[in-house]
Amino acid sequence: MRLFSWSGRFPGWRGNARIGMTAVLVVGLVMVGSTDAARADSLQQLMEQVGPEYAKAYASPFIHTFGPNQNSNLYSTANIPFGKLVFGFGVKVMGTYMNEEDQSFRKVVQIDDLGVLDPDNPDLDGVSGTAVMSGPTIFGSTADEDIGQIDFYSNGVYLGSVDGITGFWETRWAPLFAPEAYIGGILGFKFTLRYLPTMSVGDLENITYMGYGLQWSASGLLDNFPVDLMVGFFSTKLDVENTQGLGQDKLFDSEANSYFVAVSKSWPALTVYGGYALEDSKMDVSYYYEDENFPALTQQVNFSVDGRQESRFTAGVTLDVLVDLNLEAGFGDLTTYSAGVMLGF
């Protein structure tokens, strides 16, 4: 079966009804595909149209901002009573403000053997080349005219292009929100839980989210210390179900962990706090890439990416007027802003 039509002039490839190709790369296997309807109804449908190398680059802002968001607004004071039960509940909203460059990407991949693209063309056997993938990221332009593309070069000569995909949601803010509850006040400990029942948000289907953490404050031991001190950790998991029904459970499966120290100073109705955290995050992406015209190109796509951010400084302020309202900024590789409203007792 001829996997790719090399006949005719390459610009004619763009916009072909459906084109699929595969190439053995130095770094592994990449598969890319295209449809004439590159705009899709859901993020999953968009992702299903591209192979792992394109998908990694395309989704990178999403992958790297999820962790910092999940590790945001984990505390709003370093003061936890030693002998007074406290509990509360509320909601936290976080947003990572991305660098403007993250709305587009360019990924260059060396191809060892262009012959894999078209097994019926012996002239390509053993010919090396370069694939240049570029276009909007997941948070880039959703306009059809800005659709991504994959350009192929060999021996310094442009061979042709195939379409990639458009952005999914054009924004520089990667948001997250989470209901939160806590209980504590015994010997300076506080347990915090974040949880979302399975739900759909926009085009992301069946999102599940849960996090838990424990904090301990030294305030009860340091009566005369000018500020409150606290240490803690928090661990969260967030995943998005893969609805293809082809053996993949999760389209995105992420987890994040934070280990932090915090300091705060309180006055009536006002607390100023700050802290430092070591954190990590990871996201697994899994989907089934199916090329209807060229079944040989169909494959399971699985890849895992570690989040870029490994530490952060936090600065925030909490207002205690009827409810606890806190505003916080976190600064690491990425800048994250968050706010929380908690009703405490």
Partner: protein, 239 residues
């Protein structure tokens, strides 16, 4: 002592937090996380291949300055002729031809009376050259030209200098014709009888020299490094 109290009662820490927060709110921006890879550096052979395409394109397009006849012209002013390459060939697109009598400072003249000519790409227009470079299919590149020089009708030659560009995907390469060794085009031959094209491609300086036969030599750092087949555009290393 007063200073020490200020340090220990928490106000210093609060001020530091507020100052840090304020500065960060004003000045902090997330690092980019999406890949922004640079295009790979071209090798000498890859640069030579780009130069070869230009050499073939110039050898195919340039002689139109001599081969053009009024029969090819549509409605035009005297001495200014748009020309579109016929479909079905390996060259498509359009160029402009201008003819002068009395040299470069002369007046526009009938094409057959000219002793000086211009061949150039209209603004925004390109000539597309399709070549079979051995990939099993034709590749297409876009070329522009801005050539000028004296025409010798008796010898059927034009000796031109000028410049142009090659666009191959997102890459654009420029070239110039040596002022001291202009390209000698022939209306009767597909191969220029002389002349040198100068390139700087990805930092690599190349010279392509015509000598009247079906090959052209690529010189890098004063060494003839590759030969170009002017019929196919294929580059072969000189061993």
């Amino acid at each position: 002592m007063k200073h020490k109290k200020w340090m220990t009662d928490g106000r210093g820490i609060v001020a530091l937090l507020l100052l840090t927060g304020g500065l960060m709110l004003v000045g902090c921006e997330s690092d980019p996380v999406a890949p922004q890879d640079e295009l790979p550096q071209l090798t000498e052979q890859e640069a030579a291949q780009q130069a070869a395409i230009v050499a073939v394109g110039l050898a195919k397009v340039g002689p139109e300055l001599l081969k053009f006849s009024g029969l090819k012209a549509g409605p035009a002013e005297l001495g200014i002729y748009p020309y579109e390459f016929p479909s079905g060939g390996d060259i498509t697109g359009s160029i402009m031809l201008e003819y002068f009598d009395g040299g470069p400072g002369g007046t526009h003249s009938h094409w057959n009376d000219a002793d000086y000519g211009l061949l150039y790409s209209p603004s925004g227009e390109v000539v597309t050259l399709a070549l079979d470079l051995g990939f099993g299919f034709e590749v297409s590149v876009d070329l522009t030209f801005d050539l000028a020089g004296p025409i010798d009708r008796a010898a059927d030659t034009a000796t031109v200098t000028g410049s142009g560009t090659l666009a191959s995907g997102d890459e654009t390469t420029g070239f110039t014709i040596s002022e001291t060794d202009p390209v000698v085009l022939s209306g009767l031959s597909a191969y220029p009888s002389g002349g040198t094209l100068l390139f700087t491609i990805d930092g690599i300086q190349l010279e392509v020299s015509y000598d009247g036969d079906d090959t052209a030599a690529v010189t890098i750092a004063d060494v003839v490094t590759f030969m170009i087949d002017l019929d196919t555009g294929i580059v072969t290393p000189v061993t």
